[in-house]
Subunit: 450 residues, 2 copies
């Protein structure tokens, strides 16, 4: 039993943690998270939130020391952190830390990459800072998630992300243990983000700020900014203010033994995660029976009522809406043999062949089927029918995306919005990041040539 305060314990841990103490599996998971991040950030780089944000910040930028993923323009490190944090999350295709439903990587890795560009940071140091940032953000998230944090309306990716960003940058700056305590105050005082804003570009401001403001917190603390003794667990500190029943033990229990990155997952498809088993089942039937869309007479989905509550949208009109449409997801999967970003655009939604197949998708809610399981039956024009059931969808903790699948996801996302990107070199640079003398070299591969 450690008699130090929670803030102090976390600070001592963050300051003392060495790269040697990070298990190989966690090091590898860090690379997987970062690989997934680069795919999402490249794929999202032409989104209006990124492009409009860049138009605002470009004329206000300080020294242009950091890249903006998918663009030729460079910005100062804080503004680049904002846009790259925002950009990695804007497609809602990024990672999910299962216990908190936080999407942790974008706000945490973006400022580390920005810091690495003007400073000499070896690859393993960046990975180490990233592992630590994820660890602290998710542990604070674990403490508040059960106490109604998200349900009340705090967007946890942003509110807890700022702690991870701050800790990661602080690790690269080699702050002292006492400075980490001040850092938690500086980060907590900038924790913001409202669930009401989800589905709009206003959401992205909070995610970008989490990235930027964590970096700012580290800069200010290094220059002498101070805070109270118990910024995290004090009576009016972060966890009590943003949770009705915070689980304080979750913050420090097993610190250094259990790692939160082990609970991180990656989305295989750009859709709402509840659709994953449906898409898996359609892909499986299409491949196993070499089906073509023309011979399909009907697609019937049997699943828990929850699936239909969230995704029964036969008549979608926009790409944004189509990612939560059961009918659209089943149709495009059967038609194209894959569910990638290109299949969820405004154009795809209006395509006559997609529209025709969408009308053939039907479903039956069945309370007896477990949430997360989908049973799909495809009827053909010649009278035959095939069916299958998927219980553990691809991308779940039980059936994680493989390294190859993550690579394919990155390639597909780059092809969607950054076709100039040499994805093979980028993928190789990420897998070998721990041996790279210069973590920033990976960023050079993500800058648009024009």
């Amino acid at each position: 039993m450690n008699s130090d305060s929670i803030s102090r314990q976390l600070a001592t841990f963050a300051h003392g943690c060495t790269w040697d103490s990070i298990p190989d599996a966690i090091r590898h998971e860090a690379k997987r998270s970062i690989l997934n991040y680069f795919g999402c950030a490249l794929g999202g780089s032409q989104d209006t939130a990124v492009c409009n944000g860049l138009r605002v910040l470009d004329p206000l930028s300080g020294p242009r020391q950091a890249s903006v993923i998918g663009h030729a323009k460079r910005l100062d490190v804080l503004n680049a952190s904002f846009l790259n944090g925002l950009g990695g999350n804007v497609l809602d295709f990024d990672d999910t830390h299962i216990p908190t439903v936080m999407h942790p990587t974008a706000p945490i890795v973006a400022p580390l990459l920005a810091y690495a560009e003007p400073n000499a940071v070896p690859g393993h140091a960046l990975l180490h800072a990233f592992v630590l940032g994820i660890e602290i953000a998710c542990r604070i998230g674990n403490a508040v998630a059960g106490g109604g944090h998200y349900r009340r309306g705090w967007h946890i990716t942003a509110t807890c992300g700022v702690f991870g960003s701050a800790v990661g940058v602080a690790k690269l700056m080699n702050l002292s243990a006492a400075e980490y305590v001040a850092l938690f105050a500086a980060a907590g005082g900038q924790a913001a983000g409202l669930v009401e804003n989800l589905g709009t570009t206003a959401k992205s401001i909070s995610v970008g700020n989490a990235a930027r403001n964590g970096y700012l917190a580290a800069l200010l603390v290094r220059e002498g900014f101070a805070g109270p003794a118990h910024p995290i667990e004090g009576p009016r500190g972060f966890v009590h203010v943003t949770s009705d029943r915070p689980d304080l033990g979750a913050i420090t229990s097993g610190l250094g033994d259990r790692w939160e990155l082990a609970k991180n997952t990656y989305k295989p498809y750009p859709t709402g995660v509840v659709l994953n088993p449906v898409i898996d089942a359609c892909l499986e039937l299409r491949e196993r029976h070499a089906l073509s869309a023309e011979e399909v007479r009907s697609i019937h989905v049997l699943a828990h009522p929850l699936l239909f509550e969230r995704t029964d949208r036969p008549n979608v009109t926009s790409g944004r809406e189509s990612v939560v449409s059961l009918q659209h997801a089943a149709a495009v999967t059967m038609l194209f043999g894959g569910a990638e970003l290109a299949q969820f655009t405004d154009d795809a939604v209006r395509s006559p062949e997609v529209l025709a197949l969408r009308t053939k998708v039907h479903g039956t809610p069945d309370e007896s089927i477990a949430v997360g399981t989908a049973h799909v039956r495809v009827g053909l024009n010649d009278g035959r029918s095939f069916e299958t059931s998927v219980a553990e969808a691809r991308g779940s903790l039980e059936r994680p995306m493989t390294d190859r699948q993550l690579e394919e996801k990155l390639r597909s996302l780059a092809a969607f919005a950054a076709p100039w990107c040499d994805t093979s070199r980028l993928i190789d640079a990420i897998w070998t990041l721990d041996r790279s003398p210069n973590a920033a070299s990976v960023m050079a591969l993500t800058s648009s040539p024009t």
Copy 2:
């Protein structure tokens, strides 16, 4: 009864509000708030939070279009907003909106002044934007203040200040009514600040961010950032997330008829406000009886127990602590005939004559005396004694600081930290701001020559 949503009503009001509709008394109160602000910002300009913040942001600054009050260095408009918002509040000597206990001016006027420097803004337009920013921030504050916002731990100056900053800058940009609705989302998604951080420089980060991030919100919305339909009152919007029983009616009731600036007050002394009647009483006795400190044998204070709970600190050791010390405040007032910033420094605390008089200050708690009233009796070496009672302290809504007293406060604060400042010209420029063709000209008077 307006059937529009609250966010929409506020947006329509903010967009449609004209300078002609602002009553003369409110226009004058705006100038008083701004005069008080400049005093506080000049007096706080050499505080470590400002100086350390400037050291961090200077090398990251974009185009140096805006002044930093009390310094020669200029920064880009967002970074200047941050430092000038922080700087006006750092001494805790700024204004107080009575219903919310918010300190509204610093985070709201700082970004307007920064906007005015590179843009052509007439003085009356800046005053108008300021009145409107205060109005919206304080009305949203009124809605959450009763529902435990501050008690739970949100630092209302920062959390609500960002709405005022955003609205003020939006008014200068002439955004549309629909854009104001998006603006409330962009501001709410950046609302942050924890009471746990008060008394430390981490607090100042939140106040600076409120100023900066409101400006950023307006820039992003002008460039197309959007939000949900009900960002303020939606189920997971700002007021429900940050208050247990929000008073939604308070946001729009009497909009355009009653003005929140009418409830703004200014501190006459740099101390905790509960000490105001004690200082007033000491000043009154000293003047009326031409007392000198050498003839004083004892100072006895009779007041409600609350005063002693908060300020019974006979042995203070730092300037920061001395502002909440009954003994120190009474002693320096009797000694110097005034309670100004110079009397609450580390040096003043250690001065032998202050120390000697401090030991002669005693008090008696008395439940029968109203909170806010102080009875002071001074005993002299020759056996005589004088006493007086002060019920409505200077600086309260009932006995507001006069224009002349606000001018004196500014002069005293400038003398403390910015002695080069031509305060007569600055004061004149503020009183005539509504007739100035260029609001930014006032900022030129606050820049340090070196």
